[in-house]
Assembly symmetry: C3
């Protein structure tokens, strides 16, 4: 007799098949939740990717644990396991299975309240949410999702399968590639910040470039990517940007670089591929970062960095009284060095 | 004969009655403005909460001053006064009286241009503004206000009396408690920033948790609160968040904690109750802050803080030339310490 | 016979006439692109404003170069030139010519999907985009552009010729002057962050002031300007604000001051005229900055600055290992100074 599972019930057999892992345990065991080892219940599926959490494995109540081959015996000693080469990747794919099954499917079609210019191209399978606006000449690729209240400017282009949450703005002539995810409040293609000083006031330099975003790019809520001054601002394939990030005009971000929230990148910075930028970091304009550079959170990049590696620059936090004394002394630091030098000369 | 006051005219008698204070002066005196002691006119009501401004009291032209009992005599010597235990709280309540009377009342009802799914629950007295979208299964509690262009995702829940300004996004399944205030551009429930690295690219970890926000929470313009990865992101009762703040996935913020603008809190940080975080501060992920911790503006919290108190870490600003010399020396600081040690050894 | 140029084709004669420069070369030569000297093609018009790029001049393929009188001979030696007193200003005006001719003109009129209160004043030549909302008593000046999904609150005022991109929020009673540019996602007039502490919780101080913005102000995407607590928040004429900036309640920004992205200005700060604030800088509340103060990127202003000049305060970035050693030593810096003093006393 067929067992009917509800949307949020998954059998271990089904999971193992979809993840391509080796199941040790009963394939018909059902789990209803993904969770960390600690706090897992007998209906939880968990994972062990970092060996430092191995001590939690034996004690975990999880119905099943995704593990690497090296952890197979330890995992099986306590219950079911799915063995895969990369359990963290397995976990990521497991969340994707979950999301696909438990979230309401998007329905294709243009909501009657949306305002879509007749010259826009809306491909097959596209969903345009209520009260979205799509202007003249814009193109939305197959299966893309345009959320409620989105604005797609004239001649802009959203690639196939890309999903825009509610309230995304894509300026005229800007391009987003395929399979992207753009969260609410994102502004793509506002003017870059460019002015010529003239007799104490600022004369606007019109920003004539666009924004070109590659495939598989994710952009977090309320992040801004400005259009270029003359040439384009470019975000290459696979880049991941978190929330509230500012990308200035004519920045180029190399493929598969990831930036955490609140980062600011000033105009014309060129950032390599596979870089990681921690939250709140600031990268000044016209700099170059090599591939595989890692910038620690809240650090300020004031010069180009041409060698891969991790770079940091943060004032260490301390109790306020200690900080006050050290900060005050810091303002005399150069003088202290001179005094130290003088002493060194005097001391044989 | 009844005196008719316009919306922005208040009699001292009325104010004293509503604030529960002791009026010394003519109850029918009318004020039309709240203002600081300095610059107050004879139609201004003012307040003295900080004794350091006492010198301004005698000279102030204010019609009436809210004061603590200890200031009663000094206040009365110059004109009318309302005596209350906590004059700053009195001032806050006075602004509330003013706002209630001078701002246009919100009208209950759903604007005909709003797009509300028939399966959404809209309670009594709710106001839904023009061009708002409320999706299937969402719930809006009694007397709540949903501003223009707001988006309430499927099965999301907005508590009774909560007010959303224009253009707020509440993602599917997210919950906001009662009596909250959410300003324009806020994004609640965008995906947390989670990816598994795989062969040089990033595999998305779907964010399966939600956002749960307690009662009496205020959230400033364009602030983002991400949904949790597996469990929920939690904002407890009475929390106050200013503008442009980023709250990562699975953060927990304890009750009555306040954060100023531009703060970034990385994923899975746990922040205690009654904390205060200054503007532009950054709190790294997976850290714990005890109750009643105060973080100074622009400081970076890189380790857990388990004791109440104030903590700071900011490079002191200086004229640029001095900063350059000190910053350059700072890059040799560890070496300077070694040289100092060597000298100490040599010096008897 | 009349030559018909397409929208993006400009003759040198036409450009020289419009910029008021002196053309040396064939007035009927056509250019189709503005670009830097390096990489310029024979259909590019370029400019030389900074003498340090003079070496690029001789080698450039550009059809024509905007230059200062002192560069005339060098420019003419290689091809056409337009000589003007300020070539960078000439470049700015050139981008304006380009934008005016190549971008689709805005059409006056109110889109039928916009929701405009009958008591709002919509002046001549105004364009109101699809799904915008304009509330009771609001005023929109001649020739202004209100983008899609904008919200103009009751009694708010948008000056003549001011352009709001899609999705701008202007709160009730707030004023923007003439010829402004406001980018998507900007929130003007959200509540300032004001609370009175009372028994461990926060009592709201209603924000009764407004926002007053002068003429010729540009505001970048997702920037927030809060309304004042009692008096107004004021942005004077000609101020330029980049993206994701936070301006707290009762801040005053002097005329022609410019701020780069991600700056935070806390409540009641008073900033002079002609200041420049670098990206990511933080200015604490209740401070004063004199006219013509320059704050370097990511610096934190913790005290008033009363003298013009450039000020900085940033921890220098370094490779992570070096930073860790120096940062750890920094926490002992005050003690190091004491040890140095002791040594100095001992050393004759």
């Amino acid at each position: 007799m067929l067992e009917i599972l509800s949307a949020s019930e998954f059998s271990l057999g089904d999971i193992a098949a979809q993840l391509g892992g080796d199941l040790i345990g009963n394939p018909s065991t059902v789990v209803t939740r993904i969770g960390p080892l600690e706090g897992a219940t007998p209906s939880t599926i968990s994972f062990l990717s970092n060996p430092k959490y191995q001590s939690q494995l034996a004690a975990s109540q999880a119905a099943c644990v995704l593990v690497a081959p090296s952890m197979r015996d330890a995992a099986v000693a306590r219950g079911s396991a799915i063995v895969l080469a990369d359990p963290y990747l397995g976990f990521a794919r497991l969340t994707q299975l979950w999301a696909k099954r438990t979230r309401p499917a998007t329905v294709a079609g243009v909501h009657p309240s949306a305002v879509v210019d007749p010259t826009a191209t809306i491909s097959e399978g596209v969903s345009v949410g209520p009260l979205a606006v799509i202007e003249a000449g814009a193109t939305v690729g197959e299966g893309a999702v345009i959320g409620s209240h989105c604005f797609i400017g004239s001649n802009a282009c959203v690639g196939a399968g890309t999903r825009l949450s509610a309230g995304v703005t894509v300026g005229f002539d800007c391009h987003i590639g395929a399979r992207g995810i753009v969260h609410s409040g994102v502004v793509i293609g506002a003017d870059g910040f460019g002015f010529a000083p003239v007799e104490g006031r600022w004369e606007k330099i019109e920003q004539l470039g666009n924004v070109r975003i590659g495939d598989d790019v994710e952009i977090g809520a309320n992040t801004c990517i400005d259009r270029g001054a003359l040439d384009d601002t470019v975000i290459e394939d696979g880049v991941k940007l978190d929330n509230l990030i500012q990308i200035g005009h004519n920045v180029r971000i190399g493929a598969h670089t990831a930036m955490a929230g609140c980062v600011g990148v000033a105009g014309s910075a060129t950032i390599g591929k596979h870089c990681q930028v921690g939250g709140g970091a600031v990268i000044l304009g016209h700099l170059t970062l090599a591939d595989r550079v890692i910038i620690s959170a809240a650090s300020v990049v004031m010069r180009s960095i041409l060698k891969p590696g991790q770079y940091s620059g943060v004032f260490p936090i301390d109790d306020n009284a200690a900080w006050e004394k050290n900060a005050a002394t810091l303002r005399q630091l150069h003088g202290l060095r001179e005094r130290l030098r003088a002493l060194e000369k005097k001391t044989p």
